[in-house]
């Protein structure tokens, strides 16, 4: 994915792209041809993408932040500060960054349990994300749910789901809401449900796709194909591996998910199509996760270390953006190193800050079950004694 450099202002026909950096003056064109395969679709994303030093630097900082944060999670988990379930996203940063770059704030996003990076883009900070995993009040959802359950209403981020595939019908509902609230004929904000290759064979996904196509909802079915459903490779869990064609008559696109520029241009194209009321699209992002399914999975029993290492050296999304920036003359290696150092420090600082917080009070156990405060039956519920570390020290009424 080398870049061809032509330094002139963009002549791109798409108004929404011009909007994002028209004020930045000089922008550069990058070649992303070959990143897309289309299904049931006559048009395709452009072969070139415009970007600028500011934009790429911003993306690099965010992607590197995601990467450092996930590595920090790994360390904290091994130090037993994070317990329970923890599913890391490193390797897939370009998918998240490119999509966020293509989307507007009004576009709804719902995803699976592999949601740390997306939470970071949509309302989370390293502090609130780590705090949630530590089980402390500094957490994004006050430690109610932990690693799998991040949400942000004001950022239109609907989480964070534990049950595989369950987010897709919910996402379809979000798309319906977007259409319902829009004026007919006008562009609608889209809704995207991201899920993995393992989830792609869930029946409820087809049920939602049928509804979305029938009612022409602004819905994006985004399969983050990292080639493994937990420990089972796509060849062993799926009778067919071209997930972007799974919608059958529903148009689909397969995008190289390790190339952030391609992801952005691809998602811009999808958002355009879907937001104009043409009905849903299936998007398949070809990506890879370096860690195992979760922290309980070493990730090496079902794939070789060579495969992981080869992906890291040939297709790493961070290396790609760095190389692009260096080739385009947007940064020097020293500048990039400086950014990396700063981000490493920022992550450490945020973690320390998150740890300063305290666990949530026990009232949080009963809060927000229903809309009104729900009385838990006193007589059989709350213990009528004050517990101390050992039984004989406990104070009984």
């Amino acid at each position: 994915m080398l870049s061809t450099i032509r330094a002139f202002a963009s002549r791109n026909a798409n108004a929404s792209m011009l909007k994002s950096y028209a004020t930045r003056g000089m922008s550069t064109s990058f070649d992303v041809s070959g990143s897309y395969s289309m299904h049931n679709m006559e048009t395709a994303p452009n072969d070139t993408v415009e970007s600028s030093k500011e934009e790429l630097t911003d993306w690099f900082e965010k992607m590197y932040l995601m990467r450092r944060m996930e590595i920090a999670c790994d360390n904290e988990y091994k130090a037993r500060n994070i317990r329970g379930f923890c599913h890391l996203y490193d390797g897939q940063e370009a998918v998240c960054m490119g999509t966020e770059a293509a989307f507007d704030h009004e576009d709804s996003w719902i995803t699976s349990y592999r949601c740390h990076a997306i939470a970071l883009m949509r309302g989370g900070t390293v502090e609130s994300i780590m705090g949630e995993m530590f089980g402390l009040q500094s957490g994004m959802t006050k430690a109610k749910g932990g690693s799998m359950h991040y949400y942000s209403k004001k950022d239109n981020f609907y989480g964070g789901q534990g049950i595989v595939g369950a987010q897709v019908p919910v996402g379809t509902g979000l798309a319906f809401a977007n259409k319902y609230k829009s004026t007919p004929g006008e562009r609608m904000p889209v809704a995207m449900a991201a899920y993995g290759d393992g989830a792609a064979n869930q029946g409820q996904i087809w049920e939602s796709a049928n509804m979305a196509a029938l009612w022409k909802l602004p819905m994006i079915f985004c399969i983050e194909n990292n080639h493994y459903g937990m420990g089972t490779s796509v060849e062993r869990h799926s009778s067919h591996q071209e997930y972007y064609k799974m919608g059958n008559h529903i148009p689909g696109i397969r995008i190289d998910g390790m190339n952030v520029l391609a992801v952005k241009e691809g998602m811009r194209f999808v958002k355009d199509y879907v937001g104009a009321g043409n009905g849903p699209m299936y998007v398949e992002m070809m990506t890879y996760r370096y860690h195992g399914h979760s922290m309980s999975d070493p990730g090496t029993t079902y794939r070789t270390r060579d495969e992981i290492a080869a992906t890291r050296s040939a297709r790493d999304p961070l290396e790609f953006i760095k190389t692009t920036m260096l080739d385009a003359g947007f940064a020097t290696p020293e500048e990039l190193k400086k950014i990396e150092k700063k981000i490493k420090k920022d992550v450490q600082k945020a973690i320390m800050k998150a740890k300063e917080s305290s666990p949530p009070p026990k009232e949080e156990l009963f809060s927000h079950i229903y809309s009104a405060d729900h009385k838990i039956r006193e007589s059989e519920e709350k213990p009528k004694f004050i517990r101390m570390p050992t039984f004989d020290k406990s104070i009984h009424n």
């Binding site: 329970g84 749910g145 534990g162 049950i163 064979n201 838990i376 059989e380």
Partner: protein, 309 residues
């Protein structure tokens, strides 16, 4: 798998041994045509089991966590439970055994800690079993697989590692639908199942120090449950506490208490109490507070003994 040639074992990731190593080495031993992975489709897994069993085969399906059993509820309630009934006994799917790890494990959070026995018990036509330790688990599992009725076998996952006891090597079965009286006592009856027995036993020992002698019953089979053993015990002691991890409202304890008050009313010396999980979604950080532990049970025991005076 040894004694029944039609027996097949399938579910998510059972091939390499399963996420809790329950099927370790079985694929090597019996071959991939008998031990195989399924895609991520619980409803599909359950329905597939029903179909295979309808032809007379033995289908042992694994649902990776009991929290994921909900997509399969339609197949379980509407297909599995009614198969024999609606076909006028022409066919049955007694060969189905669905195994699912359930229960709290310390860090499971909302979706890896639930105990769905109450949802399942509301379904005439299936059998619901939950063992409380490895010795029971072996006997009950063999009975369940060989049972002529479809069984949902819930395995408390906290016990996979923590529960250690000598287990006989030979093939043995424990009867379904029969409760086990673990300890005799004359003062009060304690009833539980699965992982809760460990806490009830701790409470029993604490109560014994105070001179209260508890009779401890492990229900073993949730549906159909052993009404006779339970009522016989409660008539003897006159007092009863039911304890389970699942939330209080409409938990399976409610069924027990209702029948107990009906059958044993004139022998009761105090109201029957339930010490259960709270009516909240299963919490993450507050799990220790949520769980009906031995201190809560002991508190209830004292309460009941007090009321009975």
């Amino acid at each position: 798998m040894d004694t029944d040639e039609t027996a097949i074992l399938f579910g998510e990731d059972v091939g390499f041994g399963g996420v809790f190593r329950c099927s370790q080495d079985l694929q090597d031993q019996f071959g991939p045509h008998r031990v195989f992975n399924t895609p991520l489709s619980e409803n599909g897994i359950a329905g597939f089991a029903v179909g295979y069993a309808a032809t007379g085969g033995t289908a042992i399906a694994e649902i990776q966590f009991a929290d994921y059993i909900f997509p399969a509820m339609d197949q379980i309630v509407n297909e599995m439970a009614k198969f024999r009934y609606r076909s006028g006994n022409q066919w049955n799917c007694g060969g189905v055994t669905i195994r699912a790890p359930c229960g709290a494990v310390g860090h499971g959070g909302h979706y890896h800690s639930q105990s769905p026995e109450a949802y399942l018990a509301h379904t005439p036509g299936i059998v619901v079993v939950m063992p409380s330790g490895p010795k029971d688990a072996k006997g009950l599992l063999l009975s369940s697989i060989r049972s002529p009725d479809p069984v949902v076998f819930l395995e408390p996952k906290a016990l996979y590692r923590s529960s250690v006891e000598p287990v006989p090597d030979e093939d043995y079965e424990l009867p379904l639908g029969v409760a086990n009286v673990l300890h005799q006592g004359s003062d009060i009856t304690l009833i539980g199942w699965g992982g809760q027995l460990r806490l009830l036993e701790k409470a029993r020992l604490l109560a014994q120090k105070e001179g209260i002698h508890c009779e401890l019953i492990d229900l073993r089979t949730i549906l159909p449950w052993d009404v006779d053993t339970v009522t016989e015990s409660v008539i003897k002691t006159g007092k009863c506490i039911v304890s389970h991890e699942a939330p209080l409202t409409c938990g399976f304890g409610a069924e027990l208490v209702s029948t107990i008050q009906n059958e044993c009313f004139y022998s009761l010396e105090a109201p029957v109490m339930r010490v259960c999980g709270m009516d909240t979604p299963f919490p993450l950080v507050h799990e220790k507070y949520y769980i009906p532990n031995e201190l809560k049970i002991l508190d209830a025991i004292r309460d009941v003994m007090e009321k009975a005076k």
